[in-house]
């Protein structure tokens, strides 16, 4: 809800208040090295892989769900990619997407067919995927020195991961706003029983949302592994929360039926800049973890309080 009595346009709110992106970037410009080409590349790279996950998370949240498993799926995608690399780049990418898709289908099946609370279902899938990945790699990272693969992790002048993210975001934006399937996803999230009565195939749409989220997390894992040259079974611990924070900042809610890709992108850039600035001024990683926790707490508390105000 925007403070309409202040007559602020949604765009101003989006850029200055929730989140305070422009003030943050102004602060960033004062810091030595923030605007350097090298740093902006690092920023674009981290936004690229996270952003692909954010798209999936936003779609799942629009349909009224949540996906805690994306971090573990990201790690599994990276490990799958490096493992399949001897067979070529394309099989590696397809493999990463496919293992992510399997995890997404599991999520979707548990949520829609077994009627399990999405948080619990995806938490269980998260643990299963993490366990399977750790078992498969014997808890050690898998390394690749394939030139072609490492090249995909780079890209000039913009990192490939960032360009792929932009393409995925534009597609998702069009599908969500201008295609029947996207409108159905919003309807299912906003009012599930009414959507079912209108003849929408609620279970199928929700399962497809989880499938998309899984595939995207797998592909993000592929790109991250290409950037690092390593498929690590333990990365992605904070991914789900970062992605959820970006989606929540962008207007998605835990109740479903709301949210947009454009908003999530602003949220993503905000979090990306915040972490980047913290790295530049040598803030230890513990404080970054703390900050994400604080942002998330502030977001859910404000969502809860606004909901309560609206009900009164």
């Amino acid at each position: 809800m925007t403070p309409t009595h202040l007559a602020l346009s949604p765009l101003v709110v989006r850029l200055f208040i929730k989140p305070p992106l422009v003030p943050l970037i102004v602060i960033g410009c004062l810091i030595d090295g923030f605007l350097s080409f090298g740093n902006l590349r690092i920023l674009a790279q981290s936004i690229g892989t996270d952003g692909i996950v954010v798209v999936g998370m936003t779609i799942v949240m629009i349909s009224g769900g949540f996906d805690l498993s994306v971090g573990a799926v990201l790690a599994m995608g990276g490990v799958a990619a490096v493992t399949l690399l001897p067979h070529g780049i394309l099989p590696a990418m397809i493999g990463a997407g496919a293992v992510g898709g399997i995890a997404g289908l599991l999520n979707g099946t548990f949520v829609t067919r077994l009627a399990i609370n999405p948080f619990i279902a995806t938490l269980a899938v998260m643990v299963m995927v993490r366990g399977a990945t750790l078992a498969f790699t014997n808890t050690r990272p898998v390394v690749s020195l394939d030139d072609q693969f490492l090249h995909i992790g780079q890209g000039q002048p913009l990192p490939y991961s960032f360009m792929i993210m932009v393409a995925i975001m534009v597609t998702a934006h069009i599908v969500l706003n201008h295609r029947p399937w996207g409108r159905h996803a919003y309807a299912v999230g906003a009012e599930e029983s009414a959507s079912a009565m209108m003849g929408l195939r609620v279970r199928r749409i929700k399962t497809q949302c989880y499938l998309i989220s899984g595939v995207l997390a797998g592909i993000a894992g592929f790109l991250l592994a290409a950037r690092l040259g390593t498929g690590s079974p333990i990365i992605g611990e904070t991914t789900a929360l970062t992605a959820a924070s970006a989606a929540l900042i962008g207007g998605a809610t835990l109740k479903g039926g709301e949210g947009s890709i454009a908003g999530a992108f602003v949220g993503l850039v905000f979090i990306g800049c915040l972490i980047n600035i913290m790295n530049l001024i040598d803030v230890p990683s513990y404080y970054q973890r703390m900050t994400i926790g604080l942002i998330l707490l502030a977001l859910v508390i404000s969502e809860g309080m606004l909901l309560r105000l609206r009900q009164r």
């Binding site: 949540f66 548990f110 077994l114 009627a115 399990i116 609370n117 948080f119 619990i120 279902a121 938490l123 269980a124 899938v125 998260m126 643990v127 299963m128 993490r130 366990g131 399977a132 990945t133 750790l134 078992a135 808890t139 904070t238 929360l241 959820a244 835990l254 230890p284 513990y286 404080y287 970054q288 973890r289 703390m290 900050t291 994400i292 926790g293 604080l294 942002i295 998330l296 707490l297 859910v300 508390i301 969502e303 809860g304 309080m305 909901l307 309560r308």
Partner: protein, 323 residues
């Protein structure tokens, strides 16, 4: 006469409720495993199963209460770590030190619980996301305050070490602590107004509010209880190992949640028994022990836990749908 007998039965509720599906599962599991593994029933192995189980078990008991109240508490894993670190930093070498090393973490744990409870019941935040946020915040604070380093205490007093390591009549003290906590909670949940109010809040929060229950107060109390018990578990870990590496302590919230759900506590709230959580903890400890005897490492254990959680949730959902 009839009424008298039924109230007498109700007073015995905790005992009658002992015979639930999960206890049957436990009994069958123990018999089957004992038939296959000779080592399983050896006193040392049983003591090690119990010692392993109770640390998760104390966390799970607190989460049971929160879940009966209709909410989730996933911050417990971080509270365990915080409590263990604080206990070691306080330095349980002298008498006062030992007292503080036990009491201070528990007070801090309930303070964190109170913050969770206020965020959820006063501000109306989604409990899963809010407590995960709290988990990150708290882990960040703990790691920052010790700079991610290992903490160690010197000259730990015998009383503090005894909390987890000594035995009384052949039973580890930690098991006795766990048993008493479970017993007290079973009585509180079934035989006190406070306990009934928690079931009411979890069953239907709006009805409970209209019936005049101070929902916020009850809700915050459940989270404080969960925070305090998670902290107690952290103190037990500190007592067991004497030194703490904050990054190497496992995420206790997940096995604890698995146990709570396996014990039949409803994810929607309003249904559940602390005693059933005890059975579920023992089932998980036996499974984990069998996997260890078969030489399966942590990843497989993680995988099995995820499967157990899904099967348990699906089973109870199916049971609920049948009624």
């Amino acid at each position: 006469m009839h009424i008298d007998r039924s109230t007498a039965l109700q007073r015995l509720n905790p005992l009658i409720n002992l015979v639930t599906p999960i206890w049957v599962v436990l009994a069958v599991l123990v018999i089957v495993v004992a038939l296959f593994f000779d080592r399983f029933l050896s006193p040392q192995n049983i003591v090690s199963i119990l010692q392993q189980g109770v640390i998760t078990g104390v966390v799970a008991l607190g989460m049971t209460i929160v879940l009966i109240g209709g909410q989730f508490d996933l911050s417990t894993g971080a509270i365990v770590v915080m409590a263990a670190v604080v206990a070691v930093i306080v330095g349980p070498s002298t008498g006062t030190g030992t007292f503080l090393a036990i009491v201070l973490p528990i007070l801090l744990g309930s303070a964190v619980g109170a913050m969770n409870g206020l965020a959820v019941f006063w501000a109306g935040a989604n409990s899963i996301v809010a407590t995960i946020g709290m988990q990150f915040l708290l882990m960040g604070v703990v790691l920052a305050s010790v700079s991610g380093q290992h903490v160690r205490a010197d000259n730990i007093s015998a009383i503090f070490t005894g909390l987890a390591q000594s035995q009384f009549l052949g039973i580890p003290v930690s098991v006795i602590v766990f048993g008493s906590v479970a017993l007290v909670l079973a009585i509180v949940m079934n035989n006190t107004v406070f306990g009934r109010h928690i079931y009411a809040v979890g069953g239907n929060i709006e009805t409970a509010r209209r019936a005049g229950i101070d929902v916020t107060q009850i809700g915050v109390a459940t989270f404080m209880l969960s925070g305090a018990l998670a902290a107690l578990s952290g103190v037990m870990i500190a007592s067991l190992v004497g030194h703490v590496s904050p990054t190497s302590i496992a995420h206790y919230e997940f096995p604890a949640l698995t146990a709570v759900v396996l014990g039949g506590t409803s994810l929607a709230g309003g249904v559940g028994q602390p005693t059933d959580t005890v059975a579920a903890i023992l089932v998980l400890a036996v499974i984990s022990n069998v996997l260890t005897l078969l030489d399966y490492q942590y990843p497989i254990q993680l995988l099995v836990q995820g499967v157990v959680l899904i099967v348990a949730v699906a089973y109870y959902a199916w049971q609920g749908a049948k009624v």
